[in-house]
């Protein structure tokens, strides 16, 4: 650290008020009260007020000491999780229906190098062993999905009818080209949180959650099963396009793979890998991108058809460290529009979710956490904030756009989240929205 000239010390110190010249007793000379100091330390003050506090603190050693003493105990215990939580910055897609599923992932702490290696290995494997590799898997793992894009980005994938050469839909039933696009509500878009895995090379075991993530691409038939097993809205939406496009060549490009890596602490670094599109020539490729509602799959049989799977915006999120051992002392708080989580009964806090709009409220029940904010922002985590899914409540295509000011979880949300849990939202325009199916359908009172 660069030293400052000694005079600076002295003048800083000298900046204390002149005791021999008592100021007129006025509030402006007084110490900020405990409430304000607390709010300051929790970053909950308005800019104006914060400035005032800082102005005072710059001059008042005692208040600085109070602030320092009152800092929560250091986050030693929660350090790895703190990093992880930062990663959970809400990059969420506006999925028409949330996926109210339990997620329990073992996040491998892959970083850039691992990612790059993964990409390289995929490419290498594809090039070297085009024949043998039937399915290059690019399973989507992270269900957290990036923010919304215009509806136009809806069915990006299957809609590219490259007429090059219709792929033989014969070889095996599902391993023929099947471009499946879930087109449900066009409002949703395809920004995917994906973890690239190079075949099985870097593959940690994932406990993927069946509805949201289809990481298992090995079984072609498994896909169909899963699709049908998926929650109804998605399954429904999948039907049509599958049929229509089963014989189309599909262009796949892994071009914009947005990688969101969580560095150990410095907020959330968003890095984009606009690097070379992963073009898969002949080798069969099965790629799945999943977000709340939209799913695309392209499976190409080795053949003359050169197909590219195009995934606009696949966001890869790497959340370091598995957090299987979360304590049960999880506590939540909202500070300055950011949802914070404490894993040690409030001793220390980390940012758990920062959304486009300031968050205003939260409700939690065991692993389930809901948080809402301005402009209808609503997020759900089924795993204590490790991963988040944005939920867009809407009734008859009328989305909730006012501020969510309060969330109530009623009923038993333990166990199966799709159970009888009722989520009740209060909004700034005094509406009450409730959902009894984990946020899929809503009623307004």
């Amino acid at each position: 650290m660069t030293e400052v000239p000694k005079i600076v010390y002295d003048r800083l110190r000298a900046a204390l008020p002149e005791p021999a010249l008592p100021e007129p007793a006025g509030p402006e000379r007084a110490h900020p009260d405990a409430d304000v100091l607390t709010a300051f330390a929790e970053q909950a003050l308005s800019a104006t007020e914060r400035d005032g506090v800082l102005e005072h603190l710059a001059l008042c050693e005692d208040c600085r000491e109070v602030i320092a003493l009152a800092l929560p105990a250091a986050d030693i215990v929660a350090a790895p999780l703190a990093a992880e939580t930062e990663a959970v910055r809400a990059t969420v897609s506006r999925a028409g229906a949330p996926a109210p599923h339990k997620l329990s992932f073992a996040w491998p702490s892959l970083r850039w190098a691992a990612l790059a290696a993964g990409i390289a290995v995929v490419a290498a494997v594809l090039l070297v062993r085009p024949g043998k590799l039937n399915q290059a898997t690019l399973p989507s793992v992270n269900p957290q999905v990036a923010t919304t894009a215009p509806p136009a980005s809806g069915p990006q994938i299957a809609s590219s009818p490259v007429p090059s050469s219709p792929i033989a839909s014969s070889s095996t039933n599902q391993s023929s080209v099947s471009a499946k696009t879930d087109e449900a509500p066009p409002t949703s878009e395809l920004r995917l949180s994906k973890k690239l895995k190079a075949g099985q090379v870097v593959t940690p075991s994932h406990q993927t959650e069946s509805g949201m993530l289809l990481a298992d691409n090995k079984k072609d038939s498994g896909l169909a099963d899963k699709l049908s097993a998926a929650p109804s809205p998605r399954a429904r939406a999948l039907d049509a396009p599958i049929v229509g496009r089963s014989t189309e060549a599909v262009e796949v490009s892994g071009a914009a793979v947005a990688v969101e890596v969580a560095p150990s602490a410095d907020g959330s670094l968003v890095a984009r890998n606009d690097a070379p599109a992963i073009e898969k020539a002949k080798p069969a490729l099965q790629e799945m991108d999943v977000n709340g509602l939209q799913k695309t799959q392209a499976a190409v049989v080795p053949g003359p058809a050169r197909s590219q799977a195009r995934n606009m915006m696949s966001a890869v999120k790497l959340a370091p460290t598995a957090s299987q051992t979360l304590t049960h002392n999880v506590a939540w708080a909202i500070a300055a529009g950011v949802l914070q989580r404490s894993l040690d009964s409030g001793q220390s806090w980390q940012n758990a979710l920062r959304a486009d709009h300031p968050l205003l409220c939260y409700a939690s029940h065991d692993d389930d956490v809901w948080t809402g904010g301005q402009a209808g922002a609503l997020f759900h985590s089924a795993n204590r904030g490790v991963t988040w899914v944005q939920v867009q409540p809407s009734i008859k295509a009328q989305p909730l756009s006012s501020d969510i000011t309060h969330i109530d979880l009623r009923g038993d949300v333990r166990g199966d989240v799709r159970g009888p849990a009722q989520i009740v939202l209060s909004t700034s325009n005094n509406e009450i929205w409730s959902s009894s199916d984990g946020g899929t359908t809503w009623e307004k009172k």
Binding site: Y9, E28, A41
Partner: protein, 315 residues
Amino acid sequence: MPRGGMPKSAQSGHAADVAAALYQRSGAAAYGVSAVQFTAILDEILRKYLSYNSAPNSARAPAEQKAEFCAGLRLEELALARACAAGNERAWQDFISRYRRKLHSMALHITRDGTHAAELADSLFADLYGVNARDGVRSSKLASYTGRGSLEGWLRTVMAQEFINRYRKQKRTVSLDEQAEEGMQFAAAVPEPACASDQRLEAATDEALAELSSEDRFTLASYYLDGRTLAEIARTLGLHESSVSRRLDRLSTGLRKRILAGLRAQGMSHAQATEALETDVRDLQLNLRSRLTQDSGAKTFPGRQVSAQDAGDPK
């Protein structure tokens, strides 16, 4: 509060509806706080703080600002604290189950000494419960909680203030509260009369410091005067450690430049200015009347008189 505008629908200012919604959110009913009482509490808090949170040029209606401010409060914790202060049994049970044990770990964190920690925690708990009755009326310190920050953070802050008052008194001639009641700030540690410091150097330094933002000056003071770690400063300011480190580097470089420039502006040559700056001035007597002081401190907080008493040691 750091919130954007609310939708128009909320602006129409159904004050009663807003109040009802806030009341509902707070869950105060469970603790036997009536809607009227709760609204009165909010009004009191608004009176105390709102003037500092309303942008004077804002076109928004006061009602909207109020609603927005209230929505940013920790309503649930506010309801709990005020119900405790009012002696509600259920609220106390909740408070104790949530915070009683934490108080001890907080105290240990602050004092880093088991004996003092127990003493501090017990004493604060007594204050919170309000055993120090005045005129037979129990007055709980929780009555001064306003929900600006988390209740837990507030407890830590109050405890830290108490700790400084109680255990650092030997360093001070007067306590925080006494000074606050007199409307004064703390005396400098070395309040000696001014003498032979180079006035030009002081002036240049003061000028350079005065140009900094309050956050920068806070950072400098925390790091160089108080010896806080980068991590502590970072957490206080909600920044990352490396940002604080970078800022300090930038500040020290910038200050040096500014001071040199200031000295040269007063007619010194570059060599003279550099020499003046490098001279060890630690031994010089301090002139406490600095421009920095005069420039600053114009705005801080309202309602200090009330909170000074509330936050103080009632004994």
